[in-house]
Amino acid sequence: MARMKFLCDAERCIECNSCVTACKNEHEVPWGVNRRRVVTLNDGVPGEKSISVACMHCTDAPCAAVCPVDCFYTTDDGIVLHDKDLCIGCGYCFYACPFGAPQYPQQAAFGVRGKMDKCTFCAGGPLQDNSNVEYEKYGRNRIAEGKLPLCAEMCSTKALLAGDGDMIADIYRQRVLKRGGRPQTWGWESAYGTTG
């Protein structure tokens, strides 16, 4: 079984934010919630680097480890998802996540948090695939349609890759061999450990 992973090639990312736009549009993500963000290091300085960040669907997900209501589960292909009917919006997962992935919509006055929302790898949630309820709660289920996450499919420079970890690693290895330098698989060690 394939192990789904994200990889952002910092040498290729041009900070166009099309991944962010594609994600927000595909899943109708509400205002104030960003499932994906582009972070630029040393912005404005020659040699600046940009990386597209979202939930990395960690092998040993810290969000799941700290969840007091155990609303997280991992699919057979390594996608970390959660049940919004169980989530109490406590925010523990936000503090545990090394990528700042969990987001909370403001649903009432005085900053009361709603149910946690995060990148689903376009795999929806624990509801009937591609039903209206699933779409409203989790966004579109592209995986059930046989498609990959839209952020990666839309990436114009193919900086953001999503799919089977082995296939991504092959592509990235070829790139590094071609252009030289050292591989910088940003976030992979935090998300997938050394063994993956």
């Binding site: 394939a2 480890a65 155990d70 292909d77 049940d83 009917d85 046989g146 296939m167």
Partner: protein, 64 residues
């Protein structure tokens, strides 16, 4: 009148006290185990999905 009042008090007390009992059924809680609904995606054919994903990856994710 006094008998009626004491009877009423007795019945009321019995009714109130009937709410004070300990349920023998205990809700067991396994920490760290997913408690939510089952995902239909997990019941789908894994191998078929993996093959579809591979084809899709080769179509849209390879270098230009």
């Amino acid at each position: 009148m006094t008998r009626l009042l004491s009877l009423f008090t007795g019945v009321s007390l019995a009714f109130i006290v009937s709410g004070c009992y300990e349920s023998p059924s205990v809700t067991s809680y396994e920490p760290g185990v997913y408690k939510g609904a089952k995902d239909p995606l997990m019941q789908a054919n894994k191998d078929q999905r993996a093959e579809t994903m591979k084809k899709r990856f080769e179509m849209v994710q390879t270098d230009r």
